[in-house]
Structure formats: C-alpha cells, structure tokens
C-alpha cells in the first residue's frame, strides 16, 4: 500500500539527523530511514508522535494515495 510521506523534508526543516529524530519519537534511526524511503509504514502511534514533533498534523506528513487498480475494483 503506497503511503507517501514528507518526513525527510520536515526533518530537514527541524535540522536534525535520523538518529536525533528517532530518539525524539522513541524509535531507531533505521526505522526513520525506512519510513523516509517508504519501506515501512509507521503505526498510528508513531505517526502521531512524528507529526507532533514536527508541529503539524499527521496528514501533512503522511498521505495515502489509492492505487488506480484498487479504485476500479
């Protein structure tokens, strides 16, 4: 399921690296890296924590775009 995110962009605005971001939200650097690459979709709790740290809503960082094939079903 394609979950797009702008985490890297917001992280750059905050001026923190992945390790620091991970420490802020109680997760590892690898997980932040995987989220940014789109290889992992965070849980609701983690997504909310990330959004709060960035000072925005969850929808501003994460966006779910329906696949065309799924829409036609």
């Amino acid at each position: 399921m394609p979950l797009y995110n702008r985490l890297k962009e917001y992280r750059a605005r905050l001026g923190v690296n992945q390790q620091e971001m991970g420490a802020w939200v109680g997760t590892s650097r690898q997980t932040i890296s995987q989220i940014e690459r789109g290889d992992y979709s965070p849980s609701v709790t983690l997504a909310i924590k990330i959004a709060r740290k960035c000072g925005v809503s969850v929808e501003e960082i994460f966006d779910y775009v329906e696949d065309e094939n799924e829409e036609n079903k």
Binding site: N17, Q18, Q19, G22, A23, G26, T27, S28, R29, Q30, T31, S33, Q34, I35, R37, Y40, P42, S43, L46
Partner: protein, 248 residues
C-alpha cells in the same frame, strides 16, 4: 472456478504425498543395499585418517573464520568512524559487514560442535594414539568459543555505538530479551519475519534429517536415538510456534 481450483489443489497434494511415499521406499531400499557395501569398509583405517584430518582442519577453520570475520568487523569500524550520521548507503554497508562478521563466526561456532565430537569419536575407534592429536580437539573447540564470544562482544559494542537505544550486555543471561525489548516496532516486525522464515527452514531441515536418520539406522547402526532427537526438535519448534500463534 473455485471448485476447479480446489480439485487442482487436491491433485497436487496427492501427487506430493505419492512422491514422498516413493522417496521413502527408495531411501529404505538404498539403505539396505548400501548396508552390505559399508559393512566391508575398513572403519579403523577411515578413522585413522579422519582424526588426523580433523586435528589439522579444525584449528585452521577456527583461525581462518575468525580472521575473516574480524576483517569484516574492522572494515565496518573504519567506515563507522567516517560516517556522517546521515549517509544511508554507508550505514547500510556498515550494517551488512557487521552481519557478515556475525554470520561467519556463527557458522564456525556451529561447525565446531560437529568437529569436536567427530574428532573424539574418530580417535576412540582409530588404532593410533597421538596425544597432540587428542589435545588439538578441545583446544580448537575452546579457542573457537573464545573467538566467538569475543567477536560478538565487539560487534554488539559497535552496534550500540551506532544505535544508542540498544540495550544489553552480551554476557548477561537475558541479553537476547533485553536486546529485543530495546527494538522498536519496525525492528520487531523484521524479527518476526526472520523468525517465521527460520521456522520454515527448520521444518524442512527436520524432515530431511528424519529421512537421513532413518537411513543411518540401517547403514551405520545408529539406532533410534537420532530419529528421536530430530523429532523432539521438530515438535519443540512446532509447539513453540503454535503457542505463540494462539496468543494473537
């Protein structure tokens, strides 16, 4: 459509069962046939050669595997010093090298659990007595244990430097549990996937080993114990997995 699919599945299943049945009959027949051949082997001569080979190969294996594993670790350590904390390509290479290091030393660790008793068994049956040969087995085995724990300690140490949230001392009893508890959701998901894959591989290995143990009952007169051991391991894996599944 669904009915046709089900029929296909049942036919496939039937064919697999028939193939297993046929392989079982073949394995039994081959065991009986080879039994006569193996009875004619000069076992003492084989064991004489085997104990000498193991007394040389065992320490070489220990040294070479440790050297290669250490080389991977040292490369990773060097790259970690230069890492800027952001570059994903570099950190990925570092993590891979650390994994390779652990895998290689882990293989040496497991292999030593075969070579050590094999060497002693060969020594017992052989008709030559060589104190140096006899001493080389426990020295190589203990040396390998020391190498293994040393390498795990330094690799885990570097992992903790790269990932400060990780907890646990390699030498404490509950190290694995502490390490897993310090994993986040994504790492725990990955751990679950790895465990599931290991379980599947273990199931396959147990079924193959069962056939080999069955054949060895006749070929090498190993008795029923190997079959019992394999089945017990199989059962433990199956029950552990099933109990964990029930907790969902």
């Amino acid at each position: 459509m669904k009915k046709t699919n089900n029929i296909k599945i049942y036919i496939q299943f039937g064919l697999i069962m028939f193939a297993c049945f046929f392989i079982g009959i073949l394995a039994g027949a081959v065991s009986r046939w080879l039994q006569k051949d193996i009875a004619g082997w000069n076992t003492v001569a084989v064991m004489n050669a085997l104990q000498e080979v193991i007394s040389v190969a065992f320490p070489i294996l220990v040294v070479v595997m440790f050297a290669v594993a250490l080389a991977f670790y040292l490369q990773a350590k060097k790259q970690a010093k230069l890492w800027d904390g952001e570059d994903e390509v570099t950190i990925s290479k570092i993590e891979r090298k650390l994994c390779m290091s652990l895998i290689l030393e882990g293989i040496a660790f497991m292999v030593s659990f075969v070579l050590y008793p094999l060497g002693i068994w060969a020594y017992e049956i052989a008709d030559t007595e060589n104190f140096v040969t006899q001493l080389s087995y426990p020295i190589s085995f203990l040396g390998n244990l020391v190498a293994y724990f040393l390498l795990v300690k330094i690799v885990v140490g570097l992992e903790k430097k790269l990932n400060p949230e990780k907890q646990g001392n390699v030498f404490e009893i509950h190290f694995q549990r502490k390490w897993e508890e310090s994993m986040d959701e994504a790492e725990q998901l990955q751990l679950g996937k790895a465990a599931k894959k290991a379980f599947g591989a273990g199931q396959m290995a147990c079924s193959v080993l069962w056939v080999i143990s069955f054949m060895s009952m006749f070929l090498f007169h190993t008795g029923i114990l190997p079959i019992i051991c394999v089945t017990v391991i199989w059962l433990i894996m199956f029950l552990t997995y099933s109990v964990e599944e029930m907790k969902r």
